[in-house]
């Protein structure tokens, strides 16, 4: 069952933003999704701290090596934990995070259908 939901999710999101851009924009896109761990509330991209500068370089090097986006995120998560990415991946920890709003939406829809007479 969870697999089906996951699949629906993937289908739903894969048409979202599929950019095909140059390497710089790719670094930009990835580092905007990374939290700068030593600065409060800033992304790696926005920060000029030593840590963020090195991190940008690491991301750039990995793209140069031909690594895929997911590989880069996985690598950084293995080093720094889930905390570093702004977009939590869908797993049993974050299942409700992604699903709860959608469940509420469906629930709200049902309530409205009950309230409204179709004819």
């Amino acid at each position: 069952m969870p697999k089906i939901i996951k699949l629906v999710f993937l289908l739903y999101f894969c048409f979202n933003f599929s950019y095909a851009k140059g390497i710089n924009t790719k670094v930009e896109q990835i580092t905007k999704n990374l939290r700068c761990l030593i600065c409060q509330g800033q992304s790696v991209y926005d920060s000029q701290s030593d840590f963020a500068i090195s991190m940008k370089l690491v991301v750039k090097n990995m793209i140069d090596e031909g690594k895929k986006e997911k590989e880069i995120y996985d690598y950084l998560k293995s080093k720094y934990g889930e905390w570093i990415v702004y977009e939590p991946e869908l797993n049993q920890n974050t299942f409700l995070l992604w699903l709860l709003p959608l469940i509420l939406f469906i629930f709200g829809g049902l309530l409205i259908i009950r309230k409204v007479s179709i004819k």
């Binding site: 950019y19 409060q40 509330g41 000029q48 974050t94 995070l97």
Partner: protein, 626 residues
């Protein structure tokens, strides 16, 4: 001197509060026909006392009285007068005092404004509002007293944080609080009307003013916050989905839903329970916002100092209030006279339900995204970040049906509408927007799949709301707000699609080419200004047919050592050119970030339109039509 004055007037206000709670409770249970004159008197004494207290704190800030701990921690003799004054509410203690001030002033205005209302209803509103006021008073006196004294008296203060010295940030909290606190009146009034059983069209007309006022202030408060973020933080964004920002957005969604529902209650005497639920939720969200921000439970750019005892107090107070309202709701539900009518699918009632449905969905996304990390960490210790990608992925796809429903919802009639004969105007507008979107999208390399329907629909909605100015019979305030909203969505979408930026390390004399523009760093001037060292760079941006100069600045403050970057922004009606630079460790090189942001100014203007609509609705006295 001002310390004693401020402190003791708070105690007097507390005594007044306790008296009013008992008196209003007793009177509400008796069958008095008229409101005792004492109520107005004691309430005004209380308001005056709190005002005195607040202004004695302002005075302490103005004269830099460092015997006051709050002033010592948050002010400095070198601060300009304007920021000394705004420093009063730029900290935890002072901002709570401001909350309190607004709470009591609002209650006072409410009393003056609701003479024609039922006495029991008024008494109960006073009761609930005084419970909130006393809660804040006790909170301030116990955990966050702004009048703590210091001895020996320090000669200089600690607070000179330059990032907080900004006009938008100085007026942003008071405006936002006006919005938050306005929801407290709605909360108290709806509980009171629940018990006294007077919910109906008359009550809706009376409370709608408060809903509108809070909504206008909340909208402007949020706008000022994002203007500050855009100009001062120097990252070029206006919304970061930071928890503190989210906390102000949540009551906004709820209040927007309430704003529409109250109209149904007024016109059709329907949706009674839902109106009450929304009122309670809106205030709970405003209070939770205070809890989340003040307790330091969140990770954010601008949370205030951590103090668990404060968090504990607000949390308990918040839950007592919510518990109280749930009890009142369930035990008085039978008092609501059932005037609910049948809702037909094609009617304004249903359209407003759909509006509420989406508002609640947006709210749930933001709410879940903001507090889920806290829950997860408590429950199994893992720490996750929920940032912009999460919100975008969940919110943006739902904009499509939302925009569709908003394009025809407002033009539906009350009770029951018929499917009209096919309207050629609509078809023409739709094709025009299709054409415009196509032209726009050929200029970007972004994928068409999701952008196309969004752009088409937002432009379509924009054209429809413009058309409505000439055709529709709805009120002018609604037209302006809806037009503002569609303009906002369009500007945000186009801004997001066409923004581009360029990041490079440059030294004086360097040139960089970016998107057919040439960016040249001509010189950097170092000067000493009052309390900081200024590095002012002079850049030249040359386009195909134009050239302009930008002068971003880096400021190095000594006490405490802070480096801030002041972006230079060239704003035109079409786009913003945003330039900011930073010092690098390597000698002579600067990190330069240039951003091209189309339609930026329209994001601000459209939000002003949105609130202008609300404002007009407050001012206009006898609104006839909707």
């Amino acid at each position: 001197m001002s310390n004693y004055l401020g402190n003791y007037s708070l105690y007097i206000a507390l005594i007044a509060s306790v008296y009013l709670i008992f008196k209003s409770y007793l009177d509400a249970n008796s069958e008095n026909k008229y409101l005792d004159k004492n109520f107005i008197l004691i309430t005004s004494i209380q308001t005056i006392m709190i005002t005195v207290s607040f202004f004695s704190l302002v005075a302490a800030f103005v004269i830099s009285d460092f015997s006051n701990e709050t002033v010592f921690n948050n002010s400095h003799t070198l601060k300009p007068l304007f920021y000394k004054v705004s420093g009063t509410w730029g900290n935890h203690e002072g901002s709570l005092l401001l909350w309190l001030l607004v709470l009591s002033i609002f209650l006072f205005i409410f009393l003056l404004n609701s003479r024609s209302q039922d006495t029991k209803y008024k008494l109960l509103t006073i009761l609930f509002q005084q419970i909130i006021i006393s809660g804040f008073l006790v909170f301030i006196l116990l955990t966050s007293n702004p009048f703590k004294t210091l001895y020996p008296i320090p000669t200089e203060g600690l607070g000179l944080n330059p990032i907080l010295q900004d006009p938008a940030l100085a007026i942003h909290p008071p405006i936002l609080y006006l919005g938050y606190v306005g929801t407290s009146i709605i909360f108290s009034a709806s509980l009171a009307s629940m018990i006294s059983g007077n919910i109906g069209d008359k009550w809706a007309r009376h409370i709608k003013k408060w809903v509108l006022v809070s909504w206008v202030f909340l909208t402007i408060g949020i706008l000022l916050g994002s203007i500050w973020a855009y100009y001062e933080l120097g990252w070029g964004g206006f919304w970061f989905w930071d928890p503190v920002e989210n906390v102000s957005l949540m009551p906004w969604f709820c209040l927007t839903a309430l704003l529409h529902t109250v109209i149904v209650l007024q016109k059709r005497n329907s949706f009674k329970e839902w109106t009450i639920i929304l009122s309670i939720t809106t205030f709970s969200l405003s209070m939770s916002g205070t809890f989340l921000v003040r307790s330091g439970i969140l990770n954010s750019i601008h949370t205030f100092a951590n103090d668990p005892s404060r968090g504990l107090y607000i949390l308990s107070f918040l839950f007592i209030l919510i518990l109280m309202s749930i009890l009142i709701f369930f035990f008085n539900q039978n008092k609501i006279s059932n005037t609910a009518k049948e809702n037909f699918i094609l009617s304004k009632e249903t359209a407003i339900l759909v509006n509420n449905w989406f508002m609640m969905f947006f709210l749930s996304v933001v709410l879940v995204g903001t507090i889920y990390p806290i829950f997860l960490e408590v429950l199994n210790g893992s720490k996750i970040s929920v940032g912009p990608p999460f919100y975008h992925k969940l919110l943006i796809p739902f904009l499509i049906p939302f925009l569709i429903s908003m394009s025809f919802g407002p033009s539906l009639k009350w009770i029951k509408d018929k499917l009209k004969k096919f309207n050629y105007n609509i078809l023409i507008i739709f094709f025009v927007s299709l054409l415009i979107s196509y032209v726009i999208l050929t200029k970007t390399e972004n994928s068409f799949l999701l952008s196309l329907p969004l752009i088409v629909l937002s432009i379509y909605l924009l054209l429809v709301t413009i058309k409505d100015f000439f055709v529709s019979k709805s009120s002018i305030s609604q037209k302006i707000s809806h037009f503002g909203f569609s303009l906002l969505i369009t500007s945000i979408l186009l801004n997001g699609l066409f923004s581009n930026e360029f990041n490079s390390n440059m030294k004086v004399g360097d040139e960089r080419i970016f998107n057919e523009k040439v960016l040249k760093l001509k010189e950097v001037n170092v000067t000493d200004v009052d309390n900081y060292k200024s590095l002012k760079a002079s850049f030249e941006v040359t386009n195909k047919n134009s050239a302009f100069a930008l002068y971003p600045e880096v400021r190095i403050y000594q006490q405490p050592l802070t480096i801030t970057s002041e972006a230079d922004i060239k704003t035109t009606l079409f786009s913003d050119n945003f330039l900011v630079f930073n010092i690098l460790k390597d000698d002579g090189y600067y990190n330069v970030r240039y951003q091209y942001k189309p339609l930026m100014i329209w994001i601000w203007i459209s939000t002003i339109f949105i609130s202008l609509g609300g404002l007009l609705s407050v001012i206009r006295k006898n609104e006839q039509k909707y």
